[in-house]
């Protein structure tokens, strides 16, 4: 598998991180999906990401997706939030997932917008819905929720029906329109 070389390159460059690849999905019969992820500490993310983009054997030119998982009340979860980076190398034809785990009360991850420019809006989305701050982001504002909202709705401790935001709207009439 081509991605094994990329992981070997990463392990060679960052031996102190102990990058151990794990499958994203493991089925009940013991097989797995063949998609691998590695855990990266938040303070080393920028180095690892830059190396993964530039190294000959990695060449992850494309950041397919940047998302987040809230592991609150998840069985055997050590950390609260996992920020997930899906990387794709078009030239080497392999994929790799990076996961960065952060915790309350101040979840902060360095922004990868200087490495992959397309990360700007996905990072805003993760900030909007999970409240994770991306250090070095050029324009970290909410992207989906309306202006007045204070919470981060995709956190697991946020009630599904909200905290009354959907009723607390002031009707617009002719005078205020």
């Amino acid at each position: 598998m081509a991605v094994a070389e990329a992981i070997a390159a990463l392990q060679e460059r960052f031996p102190e991180l102990g990058l151990a690849p794990q499958p994203l999905v493991r089925y009940a019969d013991g097989r797995d999906s063949g998609q691998l992820w590695v855990r990266v500490p938040a303070d080393r993310l920028l180095e690892v990401a830059r190396f993964a983009r530039d190294d000959e054997r990695c060449r992850f030119e494309q950041l397919c997706d940047l998302t987040c998982v809230d592991y609150l009340n998840y069985p055997d979860a050590a950390d609260r939030f996992g920020v997930v980076y899906s990387l794709l190398s078009l030239s080497q034809r392999h994929r790799l997932w990076l996961k960065v785990f952060v915790n309350d009360p101040e979840p902060v991850v360095p922004s990868v917008t200087r490495i992959w420019k397309g990360a700007e809006w996905p990072e805003r989305e993760v900030f909007d819905l999970f409240g994770i701050r991306f250090e070095g982001h050029p324009d970290l504002r909410r992207i989906l929720c309306p202006e007045g909202i204070e919470d981060h709705p995709l956190r697991k401790d946020y009630p599904l029906r909200g905290r009354g935001e959907r009723e607390a709207f002031v009707p617009i009439d002719r005078e205020t329109a």
């Binding site: 989906l144 929720c145 309306p146 709705p153 946020y158 009630p159 599904l160 029906r161 909200g162 905290r163 935001e165 959907r166 009723e167 709207f169 009707p171 617009i172 009439d173 002719r174 329109a177």
Partner: protein, 206 residues
């Protein structure tokens, strides 16, 4: 007979041109006759109800039979707002602004389960019924409503216009809030009415 040359107005009440016919009907039934046959809808279509509304406007169900085929996407040219689909909180100021931009007299149809109650989308972002924020005259049940139900709702608006006229628009506060039933023989879809509930009870697979 009352026919005169060159289509001049007939004193006996027999119309000779289209304009005469219209003037005659307005003379007999008032200006609301003209108003109810030229409702120009403003389709506020945000979801699948909008697709169903397009089917109503197309040739098979032919909204033009009711004079309501001129869907205007400028609120200033329309007098019937059809809210078709779910409205999220971020969309709500847009909806309200469009409603206030429409000229009087104006009427509102809340089409389908989502616009009327929020439907299955009982979440933080979805408005649970637009009637909390804009006056609604007619609710259409269904998910989405069948075209027959939509036409029934349009005819209900026409009845409102005929009987209440402009008063129904300017003095109504929360709207008339009529709930329309689909015409006989038209299915409501699963989850509505006695029959489908009975089927569900007798069939454990459902």
């Amino acid at each position: 007979m009352g026919l005169t040359e060159q289509g001049a107005p007939a004193r006996s009440g027999i119309a000779t041109t289209r304009l005469d016919y219209a003037l005659d009907m307005i003379h007999r039934h008032g200006i609301n006759w003209a108003r109810k046959h030229s409702l120009w809808p403003m389709p506020f279509a945000t979801a699948c109800c909008g697709i169903e509304f397009m089917a109503v406007a197309a040739s098979r169900y032919d909204l033009a039979r009711f004079g309501a085929e001129a869907c205007r996407f400028s609120p200033r040219q329309s007098d019937l707002m059809i809210v078709a689909g779910r409205v999220v909180m971020k969309m709500l100021p847009v909806l309200q602004r469009i409603y206030t931009q429409m000229c009087e007299p104006k009427w509102v149809i809340s089409m389908g389960a989502c616009a009327s109650t929020g439907g299955v989308f009982d979440t933080y972002a979805v408005v649970q019924g637009i009637d909390q924020f804009v006056p609604v005259d007619v609710y259409l049940p269904g998910c989405p409503p069948r075209p027959e139900t939509i036409l029934e709702g349009l005819m209900a608006i026409q009845r409102i216009v005929r009987e209440e006229g402009v008063r129904s628009s300017s003095e109504r506060g929360h709207g008339l809030q009529m709930v329309i039933e689909p015409p006989p023989g038209v299915e409501m879809g699963p989850g509505f009415g006695e029959r489908s509930l009975g089927d569900r009870a007798s069939n454990p697979v459902l």
